[in-house]
């Protein structure tokens, strides 16, 4: 099939969870998918508003793609769960991108809101497909393939995170077989929004450093919804952000056992994290603390790699003392 054009996907925000789905869908429709580069060593941050770092990165990545792509894919993510919603900033993100681009590139900004039938993942993608000139049948077929790919991608997630270098985690190739049987590593849970965990521009590639220190990384992606719900169902009020629920639920889940340590990565100025972090901290204190070491790392554009590594090394020392 000949190439119809190029779709640019900014490497930011929910790219770090849904990229395989998006990529396969557009490729099935005959478009070439290009992904923005990283911020680089001396990368310049571009932004309109003083938001959190991941949001600022979205704009920076879009700027990078502006001249290379025919369409930019920046969906309006209102909700990615059947009853809970995303952070309000996600709702305005495509508009902010459009204003910053000054109409120089077309933006595919279909709304995804899983609470409403009209805006389900499938329908929203069909609409995107229609804008690209695909028929409904073609769109449906492409979406089915994409979904299949996405499901197989999600299996073996833990191996993928642990065995691949950070920049290759979201490549579609299957993860390599284990080469050597490692000595008993520390099982450390890394909790946070997916873009805080996997965007190396946000976290200065802290995951690969952790791997070098001999930690096995566990992420909340591996937990089922039931396990998370069990931790947050007894709250006096429902946490209505899906990401916030996932974070609080998985933090309590991991802190009640099963791992050697828990690291919580948050972005400075993230409203959800700021509120829930306070909640988790106080609730733990009221429950009489936790036997499991718990580290909160706050990230922003000024945080240096050295600062993070020092704290992670110290954290590892704590883990060692506990174990031996």
């Amino acid at each position: 099939m000949e190439e119809k054009g190029r779709i640019g996907i900014p490497k930011a925000l929910m790219y770090y969870r849904y990229f395989p789905l998006w990529k396969v869908f557009f490729e099935e429709l005959g478009w070439r998918v290009i992904v923005s580069g990283g911020l680089g060593r001396r990368g310049e941050l571009r932004y309109l508003e003083d938001s959190c770092l991941p949001m600022k990165l979205l704009l920076t990545h879009c700027m990078d793609l502006k001249d290379r792509a025919d369409h930019l894919f920046v969906p309006r993510l209102v909700s990615l769960h059947r009853s809970f919603i995303m952070c309000p900033k996600f709702r305005g993100a495509p508009d902010i991108v459009r204003l910053a681009m000054e109409e120089s590139v077309s933006i595919l900004d279909e709304t995804i809101d899983l609470r409403v039938r009209e805006h389900s993942m499938l329908r929203s993608f069909l609409r995107s497909g229609q804008r690209l000139g695909a028929t409904e049948k073609e769109g449906k077929r492409a979406f089915q393939r994409a979904e299949k790919c996405f499901v197989s991608f999600q299996q073996g997630w833990e191996d993928r995170v642990n065995r691949l270098p950070s920049e290759q985690v979201f490549h579609l190739a299957p993860p390599p077989e284990p080469t050597e049987t490692p000595k008993k590593p520390f099982r450390v849970a890394f909790v946070g929004h997916p873009y805080n965990l996997f965007d190396t521009d946000v976290n200065k590639d802290i995951l690969s450093f952790a791997k070098n220190l001999g930690m096995r990384i566990i992420t909340p992606e591996g937990l089922s919804e039931k396990e998370i719900d069990a931790q947050v169902s007894d709250l006096s009020k429902e946490i209505y952000w899906s990401s916030g629920r996932e974070i609080v639920g998985s933090l309590f889940y991991f802190l009640s056992g099963g791992v050697d340590g828990v690291v919580f990565l948050t972005s400075f100025k993230c409203g959800i994290d700021a509120l829930l972090q306070e909640f988790v901290r106080r609730r733990l204190k009221l429950r009489g603390g936790t036997p499991i070491p718990f580290l909160i790392l706050s990230l922003d554009e000024h945080s240096g790699r050295e600062g993070l590594t020092t704290r992670l090394e110290a954290f590892k020392d704590v883990l060692e003392q506990r174990k031996y």
């Binding site: 932004y47 309109l48 508003e49 003083d50 938001s51 309006r76 209102v78 919603i85 995303m86 952070c87 309000p88 900033k89 709702r91 305005g92 993100a93 495509p94 508009d95 902010i96 204003l99 900004d109 709304t111 709250l235 006096s236 009020k237 946490i239 209505y240 952000w241 400075f268 100025k269 993230c270 409203g271 959800i272 994290d273 700021a274 509120l275 829930l276 972090q277 306070e278 909640f279 106080r282 609730r283 204190k285 009221l286």
Partner: protein
């Protein structure tokens, strides 16, 4: 039982009246001060929004003065306000303070009523029949007082830029609000309102002045409470700007009751429609309305817009990004003030002075080089 509630502009007069008239014991938290804010900051973290910190501070101070039942308005997604109670409860518990919590539902749904019933079950035992019977009267009285306060404040906004002696309007307004607060019956209230209005109108005014028209938009808590916004409204007025805002306690109450479709509610719809030129979806809270109001005000011939938001506020951060573009497209000066716990009274004053000066230059330029 001793009821308490957070501060929000003149809302304490409303709440106080209800409790007082129906004979329920209450504690008004001390006026929001530096100490309140320090308490709030101490027991939260840096990225929480300013309203959270101040409300928490209000509660701590009130509980220390003997209150034991907190009444707080609830709210829904997507803003953080909807989860204030979840986190504040844990914080107060951790501080070792004892309290009971009563949430007023933002929208009347069956679920909210059921929850409210559960929460009030315990409290009802402590209420006498007299309390319950007098409650509707208290509500009516409180509402009347609220409207009186708002009409006085609106009048003060008009008088302030024309006052001859700087600060006189503020003094008179304070007195007038105190009279309204003291009124015990509907008759004395009407008298107090009349007296206050007269007193404000009697302020010595220079009618030859043509004040600038400035609209204040933004997050409702920072717009409505002079302690949080460091008296932006008063400062702007004294610098010679006639201030307008569409965010009032009564508008928000009516909105949540889904009443008054013809009046203020439709005004909100108008703002919302206008914002569609820039925002393709309802971002939440006041974001779209801030953008929409700024657009409409520029069309209505206002000289400038002041946008207020607390630091790290999620919806308003998006609005501030869009507003920079609105300002450029519509040729209207927009000043965004990000408010936080820092002592920025002087900075706000300087920024506002510069802003008004800019408006002066703009007006001068328009008169020298009129647009064809």
């Amino acid at each position: 039982m001793k009821v308490t509630f957070p501060h929000l502009g003149t809302m304490h007069i409303f709440c106080k009246t209800i409790a007082e008239t129906s004979g329920i014991p209450f504690v008004v938290p001390p006026e929001t001060s530096r100490k309140t804010l320090t308490l709030g900051v101490q027991h939260s973290n840096e990225c929480l929004c300013l309203p959270f910190k101040i409300i928490l501070g209000n509660f701590i101070e009130a509980l220390q003065r003997g209150a034991d039942t907190i009444v707080m308005v609830g709210s829904g997604p997507p803003c953080r306000l909807g989860l204030y109670d979840l986190v504040q409860k844990v914080i107060l518990e951790d501080m070792g303070l004892h309290y009971r919590w009563l949430t007023i539902p933002p929208r009347l749904t069956w679920r909210a009523i059921w929850k409210n019933y559960e929460e009030t079950k315990e409290l009802k035992k402590e209420l006498t029949w007299k309390n319950i019977l007098l409650f509707p009267y208290g509500l009516r009285m409180g509402w009347k007082k609220m409207m009186a306060c708002e009409s006085l404040e609106k009048l003060a906004m008009k008088v302030r830029p024309r006052e001859v002696k700087r600060g006189e309007t503020q003094k008179r307004l304070k007195k007038a609000l105190a009279w309204v607060d003291e009124a015990r019956s509907l008759r004395t209230l009407a008298e107090a309102l009349q007296r206050g209005t007269l007193s404000l109108q009697e302020t010595e005014q220079d009618v030859s002045r043509a004040p600038f028209k400035v609209a204040i938009v933004g997050e409702l808590y920072t717009v409505m409470d002079p302690h949080i916004n460091r008296g932006v409204e008063q400062k702007l007025g004294e610098l010679g700007a006639e201030v307008t805002r569409s965010s009032w306690f009564s508008t928000h109450i009516l909105r949540s009751l889904r009443k008054n479709k013809a009046g203020q509610a439709s005004e909100r719809m108008r703002f919302f429609e206008a914002s569609k030129a820039y925002l393709g979806y309802d971002v939440g809270a006041e974001c779209n309305l801030s953008v929409g109001e700024a657009i409409l005000r520029s069309r209505e011939g206002f000289d400038g817009v002041v946008h207020l938001m607390p630091f790290a506020c999620m919806p308003e951060t998006t609005a501030s990004g869009v507003l920079t573009r609105v300002s450029k497209d519509r040729d209207i000066p927009i000043l965004t003030l990000v408010l936080d716990e820092q002592e920025i009274e002087g900075r706000v004053q300087t920024l506002l002075e510069a802003f008004v000066e800019m408006l002066q230059w703009k007006r001068k330029a328009a008169s020298v080089f009129p647009k064809p």
